[in-house]
Amino acid sequence: MSDDTTAATTTEQPAPDRAGAPEPGSPGRGTARMLEVSGLSAWYGEARVLTDVSIDVAPGEVVTLVGRNGAGKTTLLRSVMGLHRQIEGTITLDGSDLVKRSADARARAGIGWVPDDRGIYASLTVAENLLLPPVVHADAWPLERVYEFFPVLDERRDFPGTKLSGGEQQMLAMARVLRMGSRLLLLDEPSEGLAPVIVQRIGEIIREIKGQGVGVLLVEQNVKFASTVADRHYLLAQGKVVEHLGNDDFKAREGELLTYLGM
């Protein structure tokens, strides 16, 4: 019904049944999946913004959603978090259904929210920002470890959260969900608007998180950065998954993808 006129679109995703073995040519991935989204469609009122999207993330895996503005990346993250409710399809975490659960229940089930505006509270200090969410998992980082890993947050404990620089706020947003013990992080454009040296640091943090078996679903427009941290990539266009690439293919086609993304 929808005529797809998007430039780089090659093939439509083959219809459902992605729960079984990976389809031929599909990038390799861990067997145990943590997050599984299948057949997800989302609307804002009458406007359909996601169509039959199926993605998955395994523990210790970094998966990106790449696409132009308006491709539906943030809506997909918000749907997984439970902040966007006008959806159809299934979303499971470790096999248990999330769709009917509230955002706070999903957070307590292990999903960590790091929004594109960093989501730092102005009316809370840095320490309070860290301590606000409940600890939901035994692997949660103790506060001492958070401060050791992010010394800048230690120095500014009593600052109002929004008095930090953009990069520091990004660190705080990530530290907050690690302190909480989230098992799957939803990172919405963590590199946006930050200096290269900070972006590099965020890359290090993502690799550290990954090493602990935490899954990361990363929305990223910075193709170069995405290729340094991720295992797999989903390319979204007009609310659909149009490509699913392993990181090697992704790197090989970087130039083409950059053109496609208009960057």
């Binding site: 957070a107 929210w113 989501g119």
Partner: protein, 289 residues
């Protein structure tokens, strides 16, 4: 000079009523996103309940200061559970209309039962009369009302800044959705916060009872000024509500004293000026507006 000090005290006492009520309004707006039009009616109920408790059960001012806020907390909980809750998912305008309708019902019900002529209430023993400070005579009750409001505002401030409950309320006030996404069941706090906000309006009513005419209509003008207070302070800002409450009380008192013809207007001129210079209010954040 001595007159000026008297007006200032009167202004601060009246400002205390505004500050307490606006604090309740701000917390409710922050956590629920509801602009509670019935806040003036709840203030009136606080005053009426004090008078009724005294007349029918011989319960005095000091006891009323404790009992009435508890009763109003219960009233707020019922209001939220039975009515407000069902409209929270819809456009905020629905709850505005609901609480507006509720105001009419409350006001008419009070008129029906207690008439329109005003209920008697005395300044409590020990707080009557005047005290001389140098050459200035000050009303003891006004001093009490002012100090009491400040103490309650500071206590609420400490509750909000020093406790985990306060931290959650601040977070939910600033960004309810994000707070949910960080694992906090904001819904759990909605009912007690609503009750708490209504209780503060009731408390302001008790404090006002000895100095104001207690009638069913006493909340009608009050709510309008209260809206000016929250706009001046910054919608959703808790500190702003308190500071603007006292500020408006002062401006109103000076207006009545020095420019009685314009007394009703000065507050709104102040509001217009503040909005012109800082559209999100004195303590409001830009993104809130």
């Amino acid at each position: 000079m001595s007159e000026f000090i008297q007006y200032t005290l009167q202004g601060l006492a009246a400002g205390g009523f505004y500050a307490l009520s606006a604090l309740g309004l701000a917390v409710i707006f922050g956590v629920l996103g509801v602009v509670n039009f019935s806040h003036g009616a709840c203030y009136m109920l606080g005053a009426v309940l004090s008078a009724v408790l005294l007349a029918e059960l011989n319960v005095g001012f000091w006891a009323a200061l404790v009992i009435v806020p508890i009763l109003m907390f219960g009233f707020g909980v019922l209001m939220e559970r039975l009515l407000v809750r069902w409209l929270l998912e819809l456009d905020p305008l629905y709850n505005f209309l609901l609480t507006f309708g509720l105001t009419l019902v409350i006001v008419e019900a009070v008129k029906q039962r207690y008439g329109v002529s005003g209920l008697p209430y005395q300044v409590p023993a020990g707080l009557g009369g005047q005290v001389s400070v140098g050459s200035v005579n000050l009303s003891v009750y006004a001093i009490f009302a002012c100090l009491f409001s400040v103490v309650v505002c500071v206590a609420v401030g400490l509750l909000l800044t020093k406790t985990r409950i306060g931290m959650i309320v601040r977070a939910a006030t600033e960004a309810p959705d994000r707070t949910r996404a960080l694992g906090i069941n904001v819904g759990l706090w909605v009912t007690p916060v609503f009750g708490f906000g209504i209780a503060l309006a009731g408390l302001a009513g008790v404090l006002a009872a000895p100095t104001r005419a207690i009638t069913a209509e006493m909340g009608s003008n009050f709510i309008i000024i209260l809206f000016a207070v929250v706009v001046i302070g910054g919608l959703g800002s808790i500190l702003g509500a308190v500071v603007a409450g006292f500020l408006v009380g002062l401006v109103e008192a000076y207006g009545i004293a020095y420019a009685p013809t314009y007394a009703q207007i000065v507050i709104f001129v102040l509001m217009a000026l503040v909005v012109l210079v800082r559209p999100s209010g004195l303590f409001g954040r830009e993104e809130v507006a």
